[in-house]
């Protein structure tokens, strides 16, 4: 594709490239801010004007992971020398690492919350995409009585802003004991994502020619085998795209996580801001937590990028 261009078109092209670069920089600026803050010493985090050149350190990540408390008095030289390097980093900030009676290091709330986020987001994504794929296949391939109505009903579950039902959900969850449990959040997020997953997957399923399965049926396979051997590989693009969207929704969800959980099953989103409130906030630790929190989505999206790009345009150019 190298169509003939006039001079003005070429100039316009350059301008467009510059404009795209500027917009990209604007979009990336907050991420840079978070990333740089996560590696700053605490005293440089809030300087005005902002410090751009500094020696990066990983003490914010260490502080993020362990439970700390203010030190009343400076540690002795022996105490300091005896401590491992990461504990010295905490001591440098005027804090000490909290240990239990057996001398074991106590972890902060963050690793737990992060694990909770992973458990809830991955499980609910697998459930929503799995159920959505099967449902979409059913709608796409078989005559379902009242198909249009059922599909509309599925979609209509998205029409209410979820927070509207937060209070009744909270009361119901309390009654059945799902408050502050992994399954509570998993069920909730699966329910959110299911309608989206069904609709998106239905579009992809409709695009897979029926003849593929019919060929497999005639070739001696059962419908179930045809589904797993033929339809599923063909739907991989759609599944990847749907999974990314479902995962992002579940991973980022804040309101319900805040209301429905407090300790055992709390996810990272409500936890990170809660660290701001206690005393003078250590912004470097919060930035470190935020940066780590960004990674899984970035990695997941990066791994599926080929599928995702195809998947997004796939839906866009449907006849």
């Amino acid at each position: 594709m190298a169509a003939v261009q006039t001079t003005s078109e070429r100039v316009l092209n350059r301008v467009a490239i510059v404009a795209v670069l500027v917009v990209t920089l604007i979009f990336l600026a907050p991420i840079y801010w978070i990333a740089s803050t996560a590696f700053k010493p605490r005293n440089l985090a809030t300087t005005i004007p902002p410090t751009v050149v500094f020696t990066p350190e990983i003490s914010p990540f260490v502080k993020l992971m362990v439970r700390r408390s203010q030190m009343r008095e400076q540690p002795s030289a022996e105490e300091y020398a005896a401590a491992p390097w990461w504990e010295q980093m905490v001591m440098d900030g005027g804090e000490k690492v909290v240990r239990d009676g057996k001398g074991e290091v106590q972890l902060s709330g963050y690793p737990n919350r992060f694990m909770n986020s992973l458990i809830v987001a991955i499980t609910s994504t697998v459930l929503a995409v799995g159920m959505g794929t099967f449902t979409a296949y059913g709608f796409s391939r078989f005559k379902v009585k009242g198909e249009a109505d059922l599909l509309f009903f599925i979609l209509s579950t998205r029409m209410l802003p979820p927070v509207v039902v937060a209070i009744p959900m909270f009361l119901m969850y309390r009654a059945v004991g799902l408050n502050d449990t992994h399954w509570g959040l998993i069920i909730l997020y699966t329910a959110f994502n299911l309608s989206f997953s069904v609709w998106l997957m239905k579009g992809f399923m409709d695009e897979i020619p029926k003849e593929y399965e019919e060929a497999a049926l005639v070739d001696g396979y059962t419908r179930m085998q045809a589904f797993f051997k033929i339809v599923l590989p063909e739907a991989a693009t759609g599944i990847a795209a749907t999974a990314v969207f479902c995962f992002i929704t579940a991973w980022n969800e804040y309101a319900f996580a805040l209301i429905m959980t407090n300790r055992r099953a709390q996810t990272a989103p409500p936890f990170i801001p809660s660290q701001v409130g206690s005393g003078l906030p250590d912004w470097t630790v919060i930035a470190a937590g935020t940066l780590l929190f960004l990674l899984p989505v970035a990695i997941f999206t990066f791994l599926l990028r080929n599928h995702l790009l195809r998947g997004v345009t796939f839906g866009a150019i449907r006849k």
């Binding site: 019919e214 060929a215 005639v218 070739d219």
Partner: protein
């Protein structure tokens, strides 16, 4: 050794009956073509035999065994689809091996079978490619390979070359014929292209509106169409079909086309045969193919004067529209025989190529002169 028989098959899609009492017997190694316009029920018939479509009444027998309640996977039939339906995520080898993998054949046997069939189809060097990297003709070869590889009882083909361009279609037609002669499997082939049907079939089954219109050899279907539908559907250019009146005139019969002043001469026995066939005057149509209209530039005995209207030069011959009475008669002439439109020429009809139809029922009266 496979025989397929359809007995009194009825099939409805909602209120529409798409197969009306279809009866058909296919013998071993026969190449049958189901021919008809779109929506005539030919593809439904094929899919019913494959098991992709249920039937509402009747029996489908394969080797004498009723199979209409069996799943497609249990009928041991292979099918080639118009869209080829090659699995895009598998390479050519895997595509062809796919039906064998369902049978739990050993790895070595699968490999051997696939390579054998690839050799027959001359696609051995394509085995590692993905379907997206194949040309249309090669895709179809792979699809045929996938159908043939497990040596099914019968092979069903649903417009297998309909998606190819004209030149490739011709090549593939010859290839399918070659394969059939070589492999000799019972084949049912669906198409709406009468040229494909004529060139491939041992027997053509013409369908319209869910009904079998005629079931005969290509030559017979062409030479003696059973009714007006078949007459119009088979042959290019389309057969001339014009309402006609028949009367005795001295020693011979005269066939006068609608709106014409004079009639064409026919042997006297026509009248007797018409009477025997209970063909009533006024409900009669004459059918004659363009090669049955004989054109002369000079006035001769038995020729009627006509005016040339449109001339279509087709290279090997011309098709000339001749105006006679209210109607046009299309004749096939030598190239350049009629020099220009508007020319006055003379025409007669070859009685041995004339067909007579009852316009009320549409059926041929079966008169051969």
């Amino acid at each position: 050794m496979t025989q397929i028989e359809l007995r009194n098959i009825q099939k409805f899609f909602g209120p529409n009956q798409v197969m009306k009492d279809v009866n058909l017997k296919i013998t071993d190694n026969e190449f049958i073509v189901l021919l008809g316009p779109s929506g005539c029920g030919k593809t439904t018939t094929l899919r019913a035999i494959a098991g992709l479509e249920t039937i509402d009444e009747g029996d489908i027998l394969i080797d004498g065994k009723a199979v209409q309640h069996l799943k497609c996977s249990d009928r041991d039939i292979a099918m080639v689809f118009q869209s080829f339906s090659l699995y895009p995520h598998m390479n050519v080898f895997e595509n062809i091996a796919f039906p064998l993998r369902a049978t739990r054949m050993s790895k070595g046997d699968v490999d051997r079978s696939v390579r054998e069939i690839a050799q027959v189809l001359r696609i051995t060097d394509l085995l590692d490619r993905k379907p997206s990297a194949l040309s249309g003709g090669d895709m179809q070869r792979v699809a045929i390979g996938r159908a043939l590889v497990r040596q099914p009882k019968a092979m069903l083909m649903d417009e297998p070359i309909g998606a190819l361009d004209a030149k490739l279609r011709e090549d593939m037609r010859a290839e399918i014929k070659r394969l059939h002669l070589k492999q000799g499997s019972t084949t049912i082939y669906v198409t709406h292209d009468q040229i494909e049907a004529m060139s491939l079939a041992d027997r053509i089954v013409i369908m319209n509106d869910g009904l079998i219109q005629q079931d005969d050899t290509p030559a017979e279907v062409y030479a003696h169409p059973a009714n007006l539908f078949v007459a119009r559907f088979v042959g290019s250019p389309v057969m001339n079909i014009i309402d006609a009146g028949v009367a005795m005139n001295g020693t011979g019969a005269k066939v006068t086309l609608k709106g014409a002043d004079e009639g064409f001469s026919f042997p006297a026995e026509l009248v007797g045969k018409l009477d025997a066939a209970k063909g009533k005057a006024g409900q009669l149509a004459l059918g004659v193919r363009s090669e049955g209209v004989i054109v002369s530039r000079e006035k001769q005995d038995g020729y009627l004067p006509v005016e040339a209207h449109i001339i279509e030069p087709l290279g090997a011959y011309d098709i000339v529209d001749l105006k006679i009475g209210d109607e046009m008669l299309r004749a096939r002439t030598r190239t350049g025989f009629v020099p220009a439109p508007g020319e006055r020429v003379y025409a007669r009809i070859d009685p041995s190529q004339a067909h007579f139809f009852d316009t009320a029922s549409g059926n041929s009266l079966g008169i051969r002169l």
